[in-house]
Amino acid sequence: MSARQNLPPKLAFVAFLWVCAFTLPWTIQAFLCLLLVLGRFTIPALRPGSSRAARAFSRFILYSIAVATLVSLLNAVLIREGAIVGNIFGISLHQEGLLFGARTASRLLLLSFSILLFFVSTPLPDFIQYLQEKGLPPYLALLLLLTLHFLDQLPNRIHQIFLAQQARGAPVDSGMISRTKALFSILSPLVLSSIVESIERGTALELRGFLHRPQASQPVEQGRSHTYWLTVLVLSLAIVILSYSIVKWLIG
């Protein structure tokens, strides 16, 4: 199955996890986080698209687990409500604070993992092409693709300008005020060159009639594949959980 065919069920899965993050108890959320981390290794559709994406995901998991632990502990120390559940170096940990921290951390991790796993397993150009198929105007699709091009170029350009200004004697290593002034000596040529480049690119786009080109017609769907039914199933499950939580909340 191609990466683009996988997109509707993956998006539905992200929506399902968002619903879970706001409706289910924190213990289930923590369990779902664990499943997501395991899914990154076992489910083909959730595997990172490149080794760089895999490294970014692993780094984020380690970082977020450290932050989640810190958040839980800090809340347990600073929110002094409920029974004392333990002591670390003579500092009391309070139950209410610890629970608040655990709830917050599991929700944050579930939301973050779901989004990050979607993006590390989906090449951005594929996602943009999918959005265009679903009705995103061509100029917005081009905007996102151009941004990816600039994102590749900009760090090098910034580095070149920085070195050039340093060679010309700009105070890039002096005091705070001098360094803030040096900020303009980097930003000004960067913005100026980008305007010049934008005018050239804009003229080229207009000459080719890109901005006045009629939108491509939508491809006719050839029957309903199993990804369609998977998407419907996941979304239905999300709606059931959401409806149950709303009813439960209304009853009290």
Partner: protein, 205 residues
């Protein structure tokens, strides 16, 4: 007959605007590299949005901020996706101020930056409080915890944290954009839709 949002966006995204907005989205995402290289304690993560709001228009600025947050989420900062409404507010408000001519005088720019900071703090506080319980995996989380520990509610704590950091950051971003646009040659700026936002009667194009 009033135009639809899609028509207004399409009207702004013509000619040089499209590549320039793309550049500004990338600038939002990489401005941190410049401040890190110069060791300046600033984020400047909305400088591209402000530039677009002034030089192109409010709708393009909303698109610029939203796309930057979407791509930031894709590139490893997933919580940014939930703050798209905040950057939309920043883009729309800056574009509105620019159309009023506030980017012609430095003191109006400074006042606009402070107002923007307050607005951004107010817009982000409910998202940060209700979605993330005030935890954004950043250094400012300690400030939220401090405000909570002295007896404030979660929403108030997040709002106070925002009010201590956002106005200063937006003030600096606004002033940087003001001085940047002031030094740009009018011959080039006049090719962009928002050139009239910067032109004063005593400054011929």
């Amino acid at each position: 007959m009033s135009k639809s949002i899609r028509q207004r966006i399409a009207e702004e995204m013509t000619g040089a605007a499209l590549p320039f907005v793309a550049f500004c989205i990338a600038l939002n995402l990489t401005a941190g590299q410049i401040t890190a290289a110069l060791k300046i304690p600033l984020y400047l993560d909305s400088i591209g949005t402000i530039l677009v709001a002034v030089l192109i228009g409010p709708w393009s600025a909303v698109i610029c901020g939203s796309a930057a947050n979407l791509l930031a989420a894709a590139l490893g900062n997933p919580s940014m996706i939930f703050f798209i409404p905040v950057v939309a507010v920043i883009g729309a408000f800056t574009g509105f101020l620019a159309r009023l001519g506030w980017f012609r005088k430095w003191y109006l720019v400074a006042l606009g930056g402070l107002l923007q900071g307050i607005l951004a703090a107010a817009a982000s506080a409910p998202i940060s409080a209700y979605l993330f319980s005030g935890v954004m995996m950043a250094g400012t989380d300690f400030l939220v915890l401090y405000f909570r520990s002295v007896g404030n509610t979660l929403l108030n704590s997040v709002l106070y944290q925002g009010l201590t950091s956002d106005p200063a950051d937006k003030l600096v971003s606004y002033l940087i954009v003001f001085f940047l646009t002031k030094n740009l040659p009018l011959r080039l700026v006049s090719r962009l839709r928002g050139a009239s936002n910067l032109r004063t009667p005593d400054r011929p194009s």
